[in-house]
């Protein structure tokens, strides 16, 4: 599966592979041992052999970042599944009353970026202000009604 989080295949700079009697290998062998790992990370053979030698660090870091992103995505997927099941609980519990409905599924995805979060906060804030204004108007109306009553 493409999305699967996999462990980075390792290689030994000094040959290794359990053969402890093996003498350190030539640079050619060391590079050839490492090449499949970096091809796996997305590096082209030309970049590996002829490109900036420090590129390998960037590819490894990029792979770690991708793994973190994949992990977050999988976690998020779990959160959506958990959320969806939680919303079904009212109808799947054994003693649910007749006519009970499931809580509707989210109408939009969870906000993930700062921008989305801010926009969400702003909407909540606007909703709160609107509710407060509505309550204040109601209070004024009720108070004025009572005041009129006292006048009588």
């Amino acid at each position: 599966m493409d999305d699967e989080v996999t462990e980075l295949p390792s290689y030994s700079v000094f040959g290794g592979g359990g053969d402890h009697l093996k003498t350190p290998t030539s640079y050619r062998e060391i590079f050839e041992n490492a090449l499949p790992t970096y091809i796996f990370l997305g590096m082209t053979p030309d970049e590996f052999w002829n490109g900036d030698c420090a590129l390998v660090s960037a590819y490894r870091k990029a792979y770690e970042m991708k793994q973190e992103a994949d992990n977050t995505r999988l976690w998020l997927q779990g959160a959506y599944i958990y959320d969806a099941i939680s919303r079904l609980i009212p109808i799947i519990q054994p003693f649910a009353k007749k006519g009970t409905k499931a809580v509707p599924y989210l109408d939009k995805p969870y906000p993930l970026t700062d921008k989305e979060n801010k926009s969400e906060d702003k909407k909540i804030e606007q909703g709160e202000v609107k509710a407060l204004n509505w309550m204040q108007e109601r209070m004024i109306a009720i108070n004025s009604h009572f005041n009129e009553g006292y006048k009588l």
Binding site: Y27, R28, F31, F48, W49, D52, C53, A54, V56, S57
Partner: protein, 105 residues
């Protein structure tokens, strides 16, 4: 970015660097890291020739040797050796994350 060495010789700018390919080519030219101490002059010459392969491939060896003659050689061999080890060093750094750390006192 990989380490490079730059200098201007006879009005032309040169950049010396080693890639993994040119490290192997330098090895094939006869460079042996184990012989740096016992054969410093030979090592310097081969290493210097090899350092041109990445950016100035095709430059005649006679021309490279002429440049070497005119270059300040103080600290040149360790500097070239550092360039030479860079492609292997970055691979080892990547491999050393899970290894046992050691200290020297």
């Amino acid at each position: 970015m990989a380490k490079t060495m730059t200098f201007t010789y006879d009005g032309k700018e040169y950049t010396l660097e080693f890639t993994r390919q040119t490290v192997i080519q330098t090895e094939n030219m006869g460079f042996d890291a184990g012989l740096i101490d016992s054969k410093p002059v030979t090592s310097l010459t081969i290493l210097f020739r090899g350092a041109f392969l990445a950016h100035h491939r095709g430059l005649p060896i006679s021309e490279i040797d002429k440049i070497l003659e005119g270059l300040d050689k103080d600290g040149l061999l360790p500097a070239l050796a550092e360039l030479y080890y860079e492609p292997i060093k970055v691979l080892m750094e990547d491999n050393s994350k899970n290894l046992v750390k050691w200290t020297m006192k």
